[in-house]
């Protein structure tokens, strides 16, 4: 992780406008961020803040209204297929094909990423073992539990050994045990050198997993830094009082408490 390294993810002045029924909707209003290779980067925000919209732009799923984005130095808008080869994506919904078995689904993904039949089958077996789904591999995914679906979704995003893994709320709706399993998987994947860009609403998750994080609110990034730095900064403003990441989040977004001191600093927006 040097300053000269190409950022794993870079966004500059990223904007997304929708044509809504009530006119133009500004979902993302100018996001700047950089994620370094090898990091687990947390992207937090309240519902409707622009988290998923930002992720969808970074993963080529949504057009960019203004600004620019790069993944591993490749322009998202200009070379979407080159970006797609470098990223793995597990979206908010586990998004599995309900009529395929786990094995068929992973093999299909391998084939679509250009592996031949034998290589796709071998990679499938490897991933099934990694996410501990060998026993359920030949059952259709419709019958999988929520936790199994998430693990399979994670495995599907890893078929082509991506350099950057985007996880959009990977543990939403999971029971505590399944959540811990997903955390372990994320750490293990990151341990192999994969950069992880994680959106979450769970502050504990961000605190546990992320090297750095950014908080987005109303389409703008309002805080950015390591969890420790963000907590220290708020603690400083509160005369050294003990603060949690929840306090940082509430201070930044002002959702259910008054902001502790002064205006929210808009970092990089």
């Amino acid at each position: 992780m040097t300053e000269q390294a190409v950022p794993a993810v870079r966004a500059a002045g990223l904007v997304k406008h929708y044509e809504g029924s009530d006119g133009d909707v500004e979902a993302v209003r100018g996001v700047d961020l950089e994620v370094q290779p090898g990091e687990i980067f947390g992207f937090l925000g309240p519902n409707g803040a622009g988290k998923s919209t930002t992720v969808r732009m970074l993963t080529t799923l949504l057009s960019i209204t203004a600004g620019s984005a790069e993944v591993m130095g490749v322009d998202v808008a200009g070379e979407p297929d080159a970006v797609r080869r470098r990223i793995g994506v597990a979206l908010q919904e586990s998004g599995l094909d309900p009529r395929q078995t786990g094995r068929e689904l992973l093999t299909l993904h391998g084939r679509l990423f250009g592996l031949d039949r034998a290589a796709a089958a071998a990679r499938t077996q490897e991933l099934l073992e990694l996410v501990e789904l060998e026993e359920a591999a030949d059952r259709v995914t419709k019958g999988y539990s929520g936790g199994m679906q998430r693990r399979l979704d994670l495995a599907a995003a890893l078929v082509h050994e991506p350099e950057v893994l985007f996880l959009d709320e990977p543990t939403t709706g999971l029971d505590p045990s399944s959540r811990l399993t997903v955390w372990d998987e994320v750490r293990r994947i990151n341990g192999h050198g994969t950069t992880v860009f994680l959106t979450t609403q769970y502050l504990e998750e961000a605190d546990q997993l992320c090297d750095r994080l950014a908080i987005i609110d109303d389409g703008l990034i309002v805080r950015e830094g390591t969890p420790e730095d963000l907590k220290a900064e708020l603690s400083g403003r509160r005369d050294g009082a003990a603060v949690s990441l929840d306090d940082v989040f509430l201070d930044a977004t002002g959702r259910s408490r008054d902001r502790a001191a002064g205006e929210v600093q808009e970092v990089g927006a």
Partner: protein, 251 residues
């Protein structure tokens, strides 16, 4: 093209895993063939009804049965289910040509329609329905039916991609009623009342139906067959271009 074939095979597997839907695709059209023939066969006896060319009324009804079966494709419903469930975005995040996501399903639909049309004709043969144009005619019947299945599935996919809603896609499918029934489906076009004849003349499905009917009732008559293929070529090209345009612009 590789991604199209891989996704096509997956769509076929998907269809096979929904045997109840496949059964209904066969059952409903055959049900209508039996009911319509049972109700009208007495009115149109084969020995005194010129347009039957010596065959029973069931032979005259077979084209609508084939077109109905080919219009019951599940491609668009599976597609919209995938859009609503989020798997479609998973596919969009892969480095595959956008068109393969819609073409894969259409290729699978063509294969499925070939099998279904062949089965329906084979089921009809023991009941006295003959294919007067022989084996070449049989092959052309299957081809025409399969191409119609692709055109109609393409149209339904457009609704699915535009609305991203299963309810809207289902409702859009009701267009097959005017398309298939504002045609000379009970009697030849020149025997229809004037308003119906005008409506049928403007309905492109009429020419497809007349092509199928000529293959069943008479020897190869290219003056009837070619307009059917021309309609399918025109509609097929339009549906293909619109599907590709829609998927390229999908945001």
């Amino acid at each position: 093209m590789n991604a199209t074939i891989v996704l096509g095979i997956r769509s076929l597997r998907e269809a096979l895993r929904q045997p109840d839907a496949l059964f209904m695709t066969m059952f409903i059209p055959i049900f209508f063939l039996i009911v319509n023939t049972g109700q009208a066969a007495e009115i149109f006896p084969s020995d005194s009804t010129g347009f039957l060319e010596g065959q029973g009324y069931g032979a005259f009804q077979l084209p609508i049965t084939l077109l109905l079966a080919a219009s019951f494709g599940m491609a668009a419903l599976f597609l919209v289910e995938e859009i609503e469930g989020g798997y479609f975005d998973k596919l969009r995040a892969m480095p595959i040509p956008r068109y393969s996501m819609v073409l894969g399903r259409l290729v699978a639909e063509a294969v499925k329609c070939v099998v279904i049309a062949s089965l329906i004709v084979l089921i009809a043969l023991p009941f006295g329905i003959e294919i007067a144009s022989g084996v070449p005619g049989f092959l052309l019947i299957v081809l025409l039916s399969a191409l119609w299945g692709v055109v109609y599935a393409g149209f339904m996919q457009l609704i699915a991609l535009k609305t991203r809603s299963a309810a809207a896609t289902n409702s859009g499918g009701l267009i097959f009623f005017p398309l298939l029934f504002l045609t000379p489906n009970f009697v030849p076009r020149d025997k229809l009342t004037e308003p119906m004849e005008i409506a049928a003349t403007f309905n492109p499905v009429t020419y497809l139906m007349e092509a199928l009917r000529s293959l069943i009732l008479t020897d190869l008559d290219w003056s009837k067959i070619l307009p059917g293929f021309a309609v399918l070529a025109g509609l097929g090209l339009i549906m293909l271009l619109l599907n590709i345009r829609m998927i390229q612009r999908y945001d």
